[in-house]
Amino acid sequence: MDATTIRRAVVMAVGLAITSAGLTLVFLGMRAVMDVGGYCASGGPYVIAQECPQGTAALIPLGIIGGLIGLAMYAVTSAKLPGPRLTLLAWSALFLSLGWNFWEYGLNPPDGSAGLVWGWIICGVMFVIMGAFPLLGLFSRDIAKRLLWADAPSGQPVGPSQVRAAIIPRRVSPSSLPASQQDSVTGALERLAALHQAGALTDEEFTAAKQRILEDQ
């Protein structure tokens, strides 16, 4: 395993841990706010009817922003590694976990009353529908494989050495060179010049490659 892969794996793991921590903070923060009735305020010059539970005013935004940053780290790196790519499922994790809170508190109100809190239950229904939507993809074998058991991308970046290998023909005996291959040599020189003009090859690389083509004649 090379250094780039290890670096990507570390960033991926850290990003995923930050995402999970962010989701957990939002989940617990929401429960704390629902414990005091489902609404609260903090700071400002106004008279506040319901103060936010300690820490929630900072922890919930921290969870949201941190979670998004962590998810970006995870998404970029996991796309280049084999194995699960759970980025899409973070949506489900967010809405299903918060939907769980709506259902639990809607069915068992924190003030101890026996009735149902229909406002929270309706929110719970909406959140479960939204959260379950990406999970429908798991019924497709192809999508499920991409999400849970993906291959690493096989494409390699093209550098000057790959360009030279692509345009310069292998060594052949000049005397046996047919007319069509002579044309290909001319074509290789033209493509080489075009690459040089485009800045893909340095002067030294251009000179060396051109000399190699001419030596083959």
């Binding site: 793991a13 841990a17 930050i18 921590a21 962010g22 903070l25 300690q54 820490g55 084999p82 993906a150």
Partner: protein
Amino acid sequence: MSNSSTTKAAFAILQLIAILVGVALGVQLFQLFSG
């Protein structure tokens, strides 16, 4: 890069560990700052 089942399983386990560590970290942070 290898796409063998072993490699994929290793990355899956790494991600599972990262999720569990993240959840534990989130719970600890919340308890620490919410009193």
